[in-house]
Amino acid sequence: MKAQPKQSSSNKPAGGALTPARQRELFVHMLRIRCLDERMLKLQRAGRIGFVGTAKGLEAALVGPACALEAQDWLWSGLREGGAALARGMPLGDYIAQMYCNSNDSAKGRQMCNHFQHKGTHYPSWSSVIGTQIPHGVGAAYAAKLHGKDEVHSIHFGDGATSSNGFHSGMNFAAVWKAPCVFVCVDNGWAISVPSSAQTAAKSYADKAAAYGMPGEDVDGNDVLAVQAAVSKAVERARSGKGPSLVVLKTYRMLGHSSSDDPTKYRDAKEVAYWEGRDPIEGFEKQLVAAKILAKGERAKLEAQLYAEIDAEIHKQEAAPKMPLKTLVEDVYAEVPLHLRKQYNQFIAIAERLGEATPGDGAFPL
């Protein structure tokens, strides 16, 4: 599978602003995420894939941080960071294979949809258990520090995750250890049906940083350049040995929690309309057109190209070979132990005598 075009320029802000070419790249990364979501939702409705945790509205909050990191840095993800991985070079085919959970998927179809990984760009998969990746990122950052590696760990999580045990331990350890990491809280307003106002009594999640002894900053999460600049600053701080910081990206989850959630049950249409008016892609498009970095109407052309790339990859993934049954017992340990080999052999003997198991029709509820 072909990798995405490599980052063309360093993220170190040279005199602050990103070059026009780099800004265009950011825009294309954001558009790609929007187009992918659209296609994935279609596939989900058609029953081709099981679940989509969309990123609509969060494109700036994904692409900004991704484009503030260097190639050797790591990105620790939650449910919606797949687009950030793409922006850092995860191949599109890997993304779509993971959504199909098919035999091309590098995790052998074991994880649910939307649980991406890509070792080449230092992107471990998330377990599903909210907040657990936070201390992982801190420990990995500590390891980098001990080894004297020039490596920053960007740790991403949602507003809901700030209530998890992992958030508390991770923030505390990182500050005590001055670990080279950055905490990126994507405050998209909602944790499934629970609004940020019911998640914390603090005015902002950024206020929490003070209690751990690190800087915390609120950033407009729909302004990709502001996000990129803020995360770059935090990354530089971590890289220069000054320790971690918390960056809170204020944004909005435009769709349901996932493809099977109906948000009209619990949130106000007016709130959604307000954020529709602050769409991160439209905002950036206007800026780029005004700066003559993008021509009027160019977005449609770019979208057509992206859809063509995505559709070609979807066709490839539709043709993936069947998942080998032996993957059932692989990767539990470095070697398949004897008891598992016996369980597997018995399972195959039953399949030979009574036929193979048939898939059920259970669907994911949220």
Partner: protein, 324 residues
């Protein structure tokens, strides 16, 4: 009588308990206006207000820890953990605190509370939305562990659990939430904890099961009957404390035993049933006791239907035991 799905019966049970006793509270993640991700708590906030059915911040540790405090001080919390897979942040509160308060206080402080949570596979949820963790909790003295498999039992056992003076973990087989329907009495009734249910009579092989494996075993028993093997199918429905006499009696009646669960085999609940029978009535056994279980692996996603015991695998075990 109403004809309800299992999830509707849970909802009806919660509603009945809340109408009956204003100290009963329901809380957890997304249980309020959304009504729970599986809709177990639909309409409860509307009927009982935000003080009695509400959303919490995203912390299972907080949910269970706070429930313990509420129970210690006169309330009857019924906490929801969204998926059993996410109960582990609360493991400490359940195992170290809820299960041991009575004992460590010489009976002075008690924790009458219920933790409801959906468990098991069948919804393509992968490793973290499919697990069957009952064995971890059955290894915890002081806790009760209940798993219904029919709408009637879901409501009756839930009401018994809410009435119970001790902490009860109420595991709901999510694969059956909408897959089974049945008659459910209106209003209040209970099904006694620690009693098993005979699902089907048969003289040749006894099949022990619970939760989502009950309908699977019923189907396998029907298939076996076509081949002349009659199975006694037993739904254990309370795993802790277990109806030991009932289990031994059912085992002795056929002398041939199959135990079925979805959870991994090693140190699984089936091992306990096998040992109980081996220790107490091995002389009645005419064949080895056979377990049909999930693999000793994490729960897969794409291959989940191969992982979960199905009719074929149960039938295979029944035939092996019957023809021994």
């Amino acid at each position: 009588m109403a004809n309800l799905t299992l999830i509707q019966a849970v909802n009806d049970g919660l509603r009945t308990a809340m109408r009956d006793d204003k100290n009963v509270l329901v809380f957890g993640e997304d249980v309020g206006p959304k009504g729970g991700v599986f809709l177990a708590t639909e309409g409860l906030t509307k009927e009982f207000g935000e003080e009695r059915c509400f959303d919490t911040p995203l912390s299972e540790d907080g949910i269970v820890g706070a429930a313990i405090g509420m129970a210690l001080n006169g309330l009857k919390p019924v906490a929801e953990i969204q998926f059993q897979d996410f109960i582990f942040p609360a493991f400490d509160q359940i195992v170290s605190e809820a299960a041991k308060f009575r004992y460590r206080s010489g009976g002075q402080y008690t924790v009458p509370m219920v933790i409801r949570t959906p468990y098991g596979g069948g919804i393509r949820g992968g490793l973290y939305h499919s697990q069957s963790g009952e064995a971890y909790f059955c290894h915890t003295p002081g806790l009760k562990v209940v798993i219904p498999s029919t709408p009637h039992d879901a409501k009756g056992l839930l009401l018994a659990a809410i009435n119970d003076p001790d902490p009860v973990l109420f595991l709901e087989p999510k694969a059956l939430y909408r897959a089974v329907k049945g008659e459910v009495p209106e209003g209040k009734y209970t099904v006694d904890l620690s009693t098993l249910r005979t699902v089907r009579e048969g003289a040749n092989v006894t099949v022990f099961c619970y939760g989502a494996m009950v309908p699977v075993c019923q189907k396998a028993a029907d298939k076996a009957a076509e081949k002349g093997v009659e199975c006694l199918v037993v739904d254990l429905r309370t795993l802790l404390p277990l109806d030991e006499e009932g289990v031994l009696d059912a085992a002795k009646r056929t002398g041939r035993v199959v135990v079925v669960h979805e959870a991994p085999r090693f140190c699984g609940y089936g091992g306990e049933i096998s040992a109980l029978i081996a220790e107490n009535c091995i002389e009645y056994m005419e064949a080895p006791i056979v377990r049909v279980t999930g693999f000793d692996t994490p729960f897969p996603n794409t291959l989940e239907h191969h992982y979960m015991p199905d009719e074929r695998r149960v039938l295979d075990a029944i035939e092996r035991v019957a023809s021994w």
